[in-house]
Point group: C2
Chain length 235, copies 2
């Protein structure tokens, strides 16, 4: 493991549960390794599993048309994928794609539904996480509307660094363009600007955050707002 990386052994949502509930939930889980670009869920299909990333992370992507899409959520060890199951519905319009390879815990859909029904603590935690997702979606909608690409890119890098637990991670400009819903060239320009400012360094898919402080200043307030929301609902 790279020296800049400290892998969490646990998923923070599960870890926050009382001992008994956590133990029971973990018994319903299996450990899996998620590979980059794995599609964990595609709209229109049945949701087979809920996922609790430990040292991996997952993008929630809203498809618009063949060429365009927009990332509307990012899930790492602070969260989970599968809230639709907890809400008792059979699908979601969002694609779930592995963005950072690594280990995760997963639960079969039926098992997750049963666990949520039997554990009040898990149910409450999941509900609070849903509240966070709602807040994050609203924040993303506003951010996407009002903020320039460079600021949105800075926010994205900070969010990703948090979930990668590393200052270096792999991500191409092409991929960033899809996440931010802009042209690749737009990313080139914004990333070049951040690099010239000494905040990041990158080359052929290797992205390194050099100065978190500076990135925060370059980002819009949405990064901080997201963290505040998480703190309020789940902190």
């Amino acid at each position: 493991m790279p020296s800049n990386q400290r892998a969490p052994a646990f998923n923070r949502l599960l870890k926050s549960l009382p001992e008994r509930d956590m133990r029971h939930a973990l018994e319903g889980c299996e450990s899996v390794d998620l590979a980059f670009a794995d599609v964990l869920y595609a709209p229109g299909t049945a949701m087979a599993h809920a996922y609790f990333p430990t040292n991996s992370f997952i993008s929630l992507i809203m498809p618009v048309d063949a060429a365009s899409s927009l990332e509307v959520g990012l899930i790492g060890d602070e969260g989970m994928f599968g809230i639709s199951l907890a809400l008792g519905v059979d699908g979601s319009p969002l694609r779930a794609v592995v963005q950072g390879a690594g280990p995760a815990l997963r639960m079969e859909a039926a098992v997750f539904v049963r666990e949520v029904a039997r554990s009040d603590a898990l149910h409450r935690t999941v509900d609070r996480y849903i509240a966070f997702q709602l807040a994050q979606l609203a924040q993303t909608a506003a951010c996407t509307r009002f903020h320039v690409v460079e600021a949105r890119l800075a926010r994205w890098l900070l969010m990703t660094q948090d979930r990668a637990h590393a200052s270096t991670f792999r991500v191409t400009q092409e991929f960033l363009a899809l996440m931010l819903g802009v042209r690749r060239v737009g990313v080139t320009k914004a990333a070049g600007s951040l690099q010239r400012a000494g905040l990041i360094r990158y080359s052929r898919g290797d992205m390194t955050v050099l100065e978190r402080r500076g990135l925060k200043a370059a980002s819009c307030g949405c990064y901080k707002s997201d963290r505040d929301s998480y703190q309020r609902f789940l902190g």
Copy 2:
């Protein structure tokens, strides 16, 4: 009541409940008349009531800064305000503002929380509505990013007409600009274009939808997507 208006006596979420659950829920409600521009909830305050519009409607607005904001949700008789209460959290980043004056049912926060706990049917319905709100938020984020003002305006008019249960309703361009997160002049241009196409007629705050068919064609697919989501989760 204008002839083009057919007021629903009920809120559709409540109406969908089994007789017993609905009756019990209604007993926890009081009837109120919502006035235009009433602020039902402001971020940072305690949420005092849940609202079930019958023939009124409510905007969910994400504030960005003093000058800018963005509507991320619209709640009429097909929905409710107060899902945060059901999720067991104490607040939301979204302002709730009355956009269409009219009658609604409301429940004190504590009563609503108790009802959700005691009625499985209500709980399931609220959960499904939350799933819809999540889908609508994601749709709005993508729509706001990719679609031009004219299409977004058309979508907004269709959504509002559905909830106003009337082809005429009051809305100024200034207000529309705040909802769509654009300049008032941008609305002037887009609305003028729709009017020249014979799809709408408006003057000094009186907006009339003349041709729903044409408006749908002028709008992006997001209007249809929203309705499909609602149908899937609550239909």
